[in-house]
Amino acid sequence: MIDPFLLSMLITILASGIRFATSYIFAAIGETFGQISGVLNLGVEGIMLVAAYAAYFVVLQTNEPGLGLLAAILVGIVMGLATAFLSVTLKAEQGISGIGVYLFGLGLSDLLFRVTVKSVQTVKGFPNIHIPALSDLPILGPIFFQHNLLVYAAFALVPLAWFVLNKTTFGLQVRAVGQNPEAADTLGISVARVRYTTLTLGGALSGIAGASLSIALLNIFQQNLTSGQGFIAVALVYFGAWQPFRVMLGCLLFSMVNALQLTMQVNRIPIPADIALMMPYILTIVALIFAARQLVIQPAALTKPFERGE
């Protein structure tokens, strides 16, 4: 028999790992669409922050998590459109403009928070939904079936994203635009329209990712709430080789490490807290080293603005 203490610790790690994966999955799947269409959106983190704040503030005022989520999606759409305007219409250097969007989001969310809320207060977030029957299963129940709505939605998004990318005419256009925009152009596909669509979708999903932190997982807002998750999501898209299921596995890997280090701290397992906190970031670097080896399958037009040439 397994030690009951160890077992419950294991269940906690797995359950919170799944919960933590939510924001990564939304952000990374959104980023996947952008990158497959050929645009690297480094501003995900900034979008997440503003959306997280917006969701939090709306819930603070109305006590309605649904309205908060809507606010986050709207913020995501607006910032996604702005990103598209910068990188598609103005053809800005994507790495640089993405950092700009991030710094803008970081500053704006903090400013608004200081002006409107001032101190850290908890809000009522999405409640946990216990799926009938399944949630009562021993071990599996607490790990898989006692989460809030957004957790289930994140995992449902993955097969949906795979389906859209691989089985629909829209998905074919997205992939074509990322691999050879000139070819798509000669076939009458508007490269700009496709990229605006994927970036707006990615913005909306980043918005949900932000909300999943501020009104579902933590139910608070504070400066730099996302602490780099948006950037890690960008890295995870490379790590997952632009395939939704592999991206999801990457997200789970990260969130599990995060859950592990938290559990270790809570249970006073003697390793320095700094080292534990570093683990997800070290993993990011390792992930990128792996990703460097699979440039073969990278969207060939990634980061290249499209211009109808001579």
């Binding site: 000139e182 000669t186 076939l187 001579e310």
Partner: protein, 505 residues
């Protein structure tokens, strides 16, 4: 879709500083192949991009079956029954053939793809026109000729009645050209109209019914192919008589200059590209390497000049072993190199004409004294070369990127030949260069041969190799499959280039 007659009337198109098309008239009828002939920059591609909706004409009109039409985008063109086979294939390499065909089309099961239905109709079309290709194959795995079939099928699938073929033979082996011409004839028999863009005179003579020649954006004339010949067409294209065959006085060729022995090298992916290759070039001799692009020619050239590691084997020049020496050493040993990537390896785009002319010699006297340049000497040196090699540039301080391809190539030639090399490695020296500059470059190569330089000419243009080489080495999959004299029939060379025939030397 039924197209009987397409007319372009008085088409004018300006780009900043350039009049690309000047009141151009052109027409094509169902059942004929009308060739559009002209130098690079003559305005052929611009005219066709206007017809295909990628550009808008500033003036002029397009008529289909005598009715004016507006073509504002490729989708408009496709709706009117116009299809284009681009010179650089517009295919998505990681997609399957079927996915490439389906791209941009509405599916019967919108928003879902219906690849089965597309594949079925694709197979019907393929067998009707003899364009056989596996619908499930990934495009990047197909040979170039097969990729071109996919391009043609893509247009036919969209019910194209008029097909524009932009330099379709540029990337094909002689055998593939033959197959393409059979397909084109079959298309005219089924009532399609074809526009064949080219600068290769004998192909135009062979396949077209009528020829229109463009020069500097204007129509020089339209002639029935059976009433003209290559000499007349060349004169129309260039505006004067053009030399295409050269007298090559025998040169004493005793000294072996370049010796390649059992050389092996890898490509960028780490796969064998040059396999156990042996070849020699003597002083005063031009050895042509013929072959289809991608058979290791680029890797061979780079290995010879020290830009790529030789895995095994020996490269020696005038008896000195230079295997895996660095480029500076090899340059110092008297090796000149005209690289195939003119803009990335041949020059520094943003540097001026005179800076590009001294890339190799700038640190040596008389151009430099210790660490300082002698700008007067540099200017004198550069202006002499510019004059001697007829590089058309406004000033010595013009960035090379604003020169034409032919002039950039003459600049590279000037730089390399001014060092009086013992060995010249010329890779695709006239690719994308107009006839006038090509003629000039060929003349220079022949002169260099007469002065006793050993020349290794690597070219995918078989006509060029046939016109210049004293011996032809055919390269296939990293190996020399035979060394033959320049009077070898083209058919036999074609078979060797396709790997179907070997000749032991």
């Amino acid at each position: 879709m039924n197209i009987q007659h397409v007319q372009l009337r008085n088409i004018t198109k300006r780009f900043p500083g350039v009049l690309a098309n000047d009141r151009v008239n052109f027409d094509v009828r169902a059942g004929e192949i009308h060739a559009l002939l002209g130098e690079n920059g003559a305005g052929k591609t611009t005219l066709m991009k206007i017809l295909y909706g990628l550009y808008q004409a500033d003036e002029g009109e397009i008529l289909i079956n005598d009715a004016p039409v507006r073509i504002k985008s490729p989708s408009d063109a496709m709706r009117q029954g116009i299809g284009m086979v681009h010179q650089h294939f517009q295919l998505v390499p990681p997609f399957t053939v079927t996915e490439n065909i389906a791209l941009g089309l509405r599916s019967a099961r919108e928003p879902m793809l219906d690849l089965d239905a597309v594949g079925k109709r694709l197979r019907e079309l393929a067998s009707r026109y003899g364009l056989h290709v596996d619908p499930h194959a990934l495009v990047w795995q197909l040979a170039v000729g097969q990729q071109q079939r996919v391009e043609i099928l893509k247009a036919l699938y969209r019910d194209a009645a008029l097909l524009i073929l932009d330099e379709p033979t540029a990337v094909l082996t002689p055998q593939e050209v033959k197959e393409l011409f059979v397909t084109l004839r079959r298309l005219t028999e089924t009532g399609h109209a074809l526009i064949f863009i080219s600068h290769k005179l004998h192909e135009v003579m062979q396949i077209s019914d009528r020829v229109t020649v463009l020069r500097d954006g204007r129509v020089v004339g339209t002639v029935a192919t059976k009433h003209t010949n290559t000499k007349e067409l060349a004169r129309m294209m260039v505006g004067r008589d053009v030399v295409t065959s050269w007298d090559k006085p025998p040169v004493k060729t005793d000294d072996q200059i370049l010796r390649i022995e059992k050389l092996s090298a890898l490509d960028d992916k780490g796969l064998p590209a040059v396999k156990n290759l042996s070849l020699d070039v003597r002083a005063g001799e031009i050895v042509g390497i013929a072959g289809v692009s991608g058979n290791g020619q680029r890797e061979l050239a780079e290995t010879l000049v020290g830009l790529r590691r030789a895995e095994s084997g020996v490269v020696s020049v005038a008896g000195r072993d230079l295997t895996n020496h660095d480029p500076a050493d090899i340059i110092a040993a008297g090796v000149a190199f005209i690289p195939e990537e003119r803009m990335t390896m041949g020059v520094i785009r943003d540097f001026t004409v005179q800076e590009n002319l001294i890339l190799e010699t700038h640190a040596q006297p008389p151009l430099a004294r210790k660490a300082l340049f002698d700008f007067d000497k540099i200017a004198a040196h550069a202006s002499q070369l510019v004059r001697e090699y007829d590089v058309r540039t406004p000033t010595l301080d013009t960035p090379v990127k604003s020169l034409s391809g032919g002039n950039i190539q003459k600049l590279i030639l000037a730089r390399e030949l001014s060092r009086a090399p013992r060995l010249l490695i010329a890779a695709q020296p006239t690719r994308g260069v107009d006839i006038g500059a090509t003629e000039y470059i060929h003349k220079r190569l022949i002169e260099q041969r007469a002065q006793g330089t050993a020349i290794l000419l690597i070219s995918e243009d078989l006509d060029e190799v046939l016109a210049l080489a004293d011996r032809i080495a055919v390269m296939y999959e990293g190996e020399i499959v035979g060394v033959v004299p320049p009077n070898t029939p083209v058919d036999q060379l074609g078979l060797m280039m396709a790997g179907a025939k070997r000749v032991s030397s």
